[in-house]
Symmetry: D3
Subunit: 174 residues, 6 copies
């Protein structure tokens, strides 16, 4: 059995992330989805808590009818320093065989530690980004079209857009 | 839908823990199983990494034919101080409605924060403890009878008993 | 008896802060004045130590003839993460009934935790800011008119203006 | 004007501590009372939060009619390491001229840093200790005779004795 | 015997640093070379690990025929806060009598703690900077002329230029 | 060229440690001597600062006429968790080829990470221990016979025995 690793901050989880999970599951038997920077929330870059982001991933997986037996979804706080990050993630996750990432530093650190790394074939990479989603939330744009329906609904139920607007005001005031 | 919370260190996961999960699933729709003290490993009290302990829980769940759609298994490092622990766990987990625990401090902190707490009806509480399992490992006793078969097999595959013996030698030498 | 909470960094304590304390004391019986980001000093944004800032607050209170029996002045280091900040402050302060703040994130976190929050009616909000005071110190402007006399005198006695100039040089060099 | 420093954990604040404050105030003009190990609570050695301990000190000072203008009561978390502890406390407190302590390590660290240290003339040193108070709470002894009346009353109002009993059970179970 | 202190991040160690060491050794008997911000690596500002930077310093010292008996080369992680930094460095280094630095904050903190500080007479200060070296690495400029030959060779042997380019891509993507 | 690694706490550095260094230098070209638990000092188990312990090692090396060109002596604070410790040490030290240790946990962690580990042939292992040295200091025994002469002399010059006695009193009082 082959296990893949997929790390993201998911602020919030969008359709590009869902596409990545589907791509990974077509190459491996099961996948560990790591919700990174788990300690952060309530900042403009990281508005949602790890618990909220795990909820988003689970909702998206259910909506897409992905078998829960093929998934492990878990939070991971940042390691204190880059050079211990790979040891940190290896100690917190079940064994995996290949990591999927397009992030140059993440890929480099995993490769320097001798692990196998594959790139992800994102379509429309400029549009399906969490930065774009948060930008549209702040400017009253159509952010919902970038997200699975159940994730949009959840974000509205917890007042997520209002939170992001408040955080941007705090940022300007400081 | 009702969600339960179950926290343990699972050093290692034994049949008493499995009984607790079954009890909880007879009362709630799904359960968040939190692998606590996730940062620790390679000590006499905490020999296994969080990743290894998550693996044990998943193996035990599969062996017991528990529906993976009703489970979320995740690691959680300790909070720095007791009084922020509840805020810490609330930020890292999806929403839950009731926590199951027999540990007095855990129960007190959750109740002081206004959360609902239920006790667990452990049978044979003296025998089915992780302390007893580790003690039998050190003294060549029958530790395997206390664990699900798949967990015993996994521990042997990673040299877990040898690790615990090594750690006890280190403890004496320091 | 009603207790209010007032949090600031006080880098340095100026006449706008004094006005806020007077406003609060006209609404509650006593006030806990929390000197936040207490761990920081010797940066361009946070030039003064918590001990120096507590000294400033005490001098300003004496100069304004405010009854010391109605005050508690204390340092508080930042919490590691936003979502545990409210639990952190609740564990370090005596019980309070209402928090006074205009800062959107602070207000949001306190309200999300179920606490009562009131806004402060600052006059001349652009002028009476610590940023403006530090700017005038760097540009040889009239910073003293923004501070209680005893605070200005104290800052000069510890070489505070020279420190801020040194720190701004360090910032450019790095 | 001479300022004294008095550091304690005050778990809880008892009549021996009150005697020490009175002794100090007969030698200096005002005193900084530092509630140490401020981050800890809910352990058998440190049952009360810093906020609760500050409340105890304030109640005891009011009951003893000590002028609040001569006091600064503040929490202080432990420094990470002994050799930076003196720098840590100097950065968090207003200037002081003499520290009062009978604790050998505290005295040594302050003296190694060139500060003036005086011993405290505790009477009945075996009886008036926080350890003895907590022991009597656990064994249904007369703990109230060791505390100022207002502090006893406060501890009962927050269920302090029940908390200490719960914590001792947790300790045995772990 | 007089001992000097020389602190730098050495990202990477260049000819300006070598000139500084020679200057210091003409004024004192031996020197403690502290590789600062030792915990950092794999960022655009701090690309190299402390171990790699220590290796660079040792290579440069050998190439320049400097007596190893006059040197102590050691890593030092940052202190958590500025006001405990001097206590931190004093606890980690052998006794020294004079510190050499041109950095205003470093000099101020050491002087505030009563230590002797001397400035360094850098020639061509705009050219011989680590920032300039890293810039030339990113823009295919002649970075090697700014470094001792053995250091250039070492950086190429560990793929240092490729790492810096990767890190700059990560920076843009985040 | 082959480089060895030798880690110890050296509280204090004694003749058994010196024998170990000589053994290592008969097998490798140079050695990195790591002064571990560098953050600790002023406790009964760790009385001396890292700076003092580095001074001891240097004095012992000079007294034994060991070529300083074959040595690198450096402090290392503990890693936060066991499973990132090897990554931590690899990031802070120059490249090494073999580690020398008799400590079971240290050896296990290095081996689990794929590094080469050799045991040390200590003679009189019960006598030449830092625990024995500290015990003799507390009980007025002949501790000096266990140490290189220059190290004994240095410890006396900094009042090391008095410090250890003070620390043991603090331990009893707490």
């Amino acid at each position: 059995m082959t296990t893949g690793l997929y790390i993201g901050r998911f602020q919030p989880f969008h359709l590009g992330h869902l596409e990545a999970v589907n791509h990974i599951l077509s190459h491996v038997d099961d996948v560990v989805i790591v919700v990174g920077s788990a300690q952060h929330s309530h900042t403009t870059e990281n508005p949602f808590t790890a618990g909220e982001r795990i909820t988003m991933v689970r909702l998206a997986m259910r909506e897409a009818n992905i078998d829960p037996g093929r998934l492990l979804i878990m939070p991971l706080p940042d390691a204190e320093f880059h050079k211990v990050w790979v040891a940190h993630i290896l100690s917190q996750t079940p064994e995996f065989h290949v990591a999927f990432t397009n992030e140059p530093l993440t890929g480099r650190l995993l490769k320097e530690a001798g692990l196998r790394v594959e790139k992800l074939p994102f379509h429309h990479r400029e549009t399906y980004t969490a930065t774009e989603v948060r930008h549209r939330m702040l400017t009253k744009g159509n952010w919902e079209e970038l997200l699975p329906g159940s994730v949009s609904k959840y974000i509205k139920s917890i007042g997520g857009v209002e939170r992001i607007i408040d955080l941007s005001l705090s940022d300007k005031a400081s």
